[in-house]
Symmetry: C2
């Protein structure tokens, strides 16, 4: 991509924001604020989010997930039927249309249950595992954390339907493992944290938390086992276990729940087992905050000059600057692009210094600089964003070096 044709409204001085991620992402031209907790995602963010979604998609497919896209519009009656409308905490966060009895999806347990009822009759039709990338709407009162807590946000939510607790438990564990794979692939060191089952279940649920000083959660973690406990279950921890734990601030990037038969009973979602007996379906729900992940990564990976994004998440792989008055920059850009690398070529007419500043701000992993000096050597300067030192690489070797970095 040539920067002259690319839309990335970086700012020299961004307005102060409530959070590090909102400030950095706005300054680096990733997002533009529409209202409190509401952001427009600009091309740099869209590219990063597409990569995050693809990682999540692959891992959800690997555990048998089927991708769907349910509607945001949901009749109010749906929530009344499940009893959730009686929950004041829930009702307060749901957007509802002025006159149409229509709500805007804050979550999707109910609509998924209704849809699956069309399909499931016998044990042969189970399990059903559906997930979606969906825009959720929630009237957050404290929408002050950039992409960490928005009133409109992107989420991967998965709902699973099983014949009994045992088969749900098996899936639950495979999903937990898939979640850990997702976070690892995105460069995040996530802890599996025990939490209460909430109102749905007597069992525990699990949160996936990333340690971060600006996180709004406070949890106890065991660094050796990469597990932990959230506040709700602290009373249940044994003394011996307690000694191994450290209290840390963290950001919740995912959660998984046993739902039991709460929703399937509300919607009379049953099946006939092998003996012809009508049984309740057992459900689970599994969330990952997609935009929140980009927010979390921005909170964690930056320095005084801007973002330092992990390779798997950065919108481009290389940022190319040409300081020579030649066509060498275009040539290298074309070569690398044809070889399949994602290069942002800063072909704009502006001072070299400003380009260096923007390269650092946007946080692309590799910076390539063609200078009169390297040109004489048929080479280019290569600097990784996360490193202080640069190396000179022969032009004919650049692809090989990049391949190694991104392998």
């Amino acid at each position: 991509m040539k920067f002259s044709e690319f839309y990335a409204p970086t700012k020299r001085d961004a307005a102060k924001q409530d959070s590090v991620n909102a400030y950095l992402l706005a300054k680096a031209g990733y997002i533009s604020q529409v209202a409190a907790g509401v952001y427009a995602l600009l091309p740099l963010a869209v590219r990063s989010l597409q990569k995050i979604e693809q990682v999540v998609r692959e891992e959800m497919n690997s555990i048998g997930g089927n991708e769907v896209v349910f509607s945001a519009l949901q009749p109010k009656s749906t929530w009344e039927k499940s009893g959730r409308w009686d929950d004041e905490n829930f009702r307060q966060i749901v957007y509802i249309d002025q006159d149409a009895d229509m709500t805007f999806g804050a979550t999707h347990e109910e609509p998924m249950s209704i849809a699956v009822k069309e399909k499931v009759q016998s044990y042969r039709d189970l399990p059903v595992i559906l997930y979606q990338f969906q825009t959720k709407f929630r009237k957050e009162l404290r929408a002050k954390s950039g992409l960490l807590r928005g009133r409109e946000f992107r989420m991967k939510d998965l709902y699973s339907f099983h014949p009994d607790n045992e088969s749900h438990h098996e899936f639950y564990e495979s999903a937990a493992t898939a979640y850990l794979r997702v976070f690892k692939r995105l460069g995040l060191d996530a802890y599996r944290v025990k939490a209460s089952g909430g109102v749905f279940s007597k069992e525990y649920s699990d949160e996936f938390q990333v340690i971060c000083p600006t996180g709004e959660d406070e949890i106890l973690v065991n660094h050796k086992t990469k597990t932990g406990f959230n506040k709700e279950v602290e009373a249940d921890i044994s003394v011996a276990e307690k000694d191994k734990l450290e209290r840390v601030k963290a950001i919740e990037v995912g959660n998984i729940f046993h739902l039991g038969s709460k929703y399937s009973d509300a919607f009379d979602l049953k099946y006939l087992n092998k003996d012809g007996v009508r049984k309740s379906i057992v459900m689970g729900s599994y969330g990952i905050g997609i935009t929140r992940l980009l927010g979390t990564i921005s909170e964690l990976f930056h320095d005084q000059n801007g973002l330092v994004l992990p390779k798997q998440v950065a919108p481009f792989q290389a940022y190319l600057i040409d300081l020579t008055n030649s066509k060498d920059g275009v040539g290298l850009y074309n070569t690398l692009t044809k070889a399949g690398f994602e290069v942002l070529f800063d072909d704009r007419e502006m001072p070299a210094g400003a380009k260096f500043v923007e390269a650092d701000l946007i946080g692309i992993p590799v910076r390539l600089v063609l200078s009169p000096k390297t040109k004489a050597e048929n080479a280019v300067e290569l600097k990784e964003r996360s490193s202080d030192t640069s190396t000179v690489v022969l032009l004919k070797e650049v692809s090989k070096v990049l391949e190694k970095i991104f392998s």
Copy 2:
């Protein structure tokens, strides 16, 4: 994909629907109705829509489009500022939250103008070309046409910002050509149809219409030039031209507009030209209905047994049925999948006849059947969905034959 792990709730008897597309897509397990004009998109539809979006994405990128995702939530004040809130027709279709002064995006001219104001100062910053795949919300009173007219629907909308009418006109024509490429790639024979510029402009706008007996538009078309006129501009047609036209029913799948400076003036979106003079930015808007395209294709491509989807849009390329009691089906499935083909392998325990019925209903372009007879010949029966005859293909030749069909 093995059908036993795939979620496609096909129906023997689907409820009567208001439209052919809603009936067929529900029966074939692509969609599930949530409310009037609101549908959950199930895995078959998601796969088709992802293919449609990818074609549109490639063509929008080819004319310099930058992909963004703006928010659905938009403060009511945004619409007041542009004056659109005073337009009763517009106000009636917008969803607005009960207490929050927040609307749910019916369109995005205003928010895009506001965001671009952050970036554009001089002629050097122009043009700006932004597009998105976005869920739109509109309170349609007559939401009776399945995916053709929903209250929640998926749309590609592009907004372009130019220094003057001339440069906008140039882009407008390149976009029109890109639109025709999109529809052609999706197997649609679209006409470029002149329409009035609406309230925004004295110039004409263009609609892209596909002839369809169940379409809700009535237009005049010239089959030779693949152009036409909609009702609004019929009075302007010369007598000589009129002779060449036929009156047909059609579905509008895209439209492109000159917006002039209506929105840029409302939001004081100006730039400094080369002479340092402050000038109004000229805008255009460009829409393609993504879910509507799937609806249109379903209206057009079907027979008495179900959908007959074009190769570029079908959720899978081949539907594999194994009538032998062997592992040959799994083997062929693995071979084809590894070779990169998208195969739906019907591995369910159910009568062969029912599988044939579902294969026809879902409308995947190629059906492959392994039978005891073809097994003896190390071959498979291959039938194209759009054809009445089948051929026997040696197993080792299947990849080559499929490659030819899908090239």
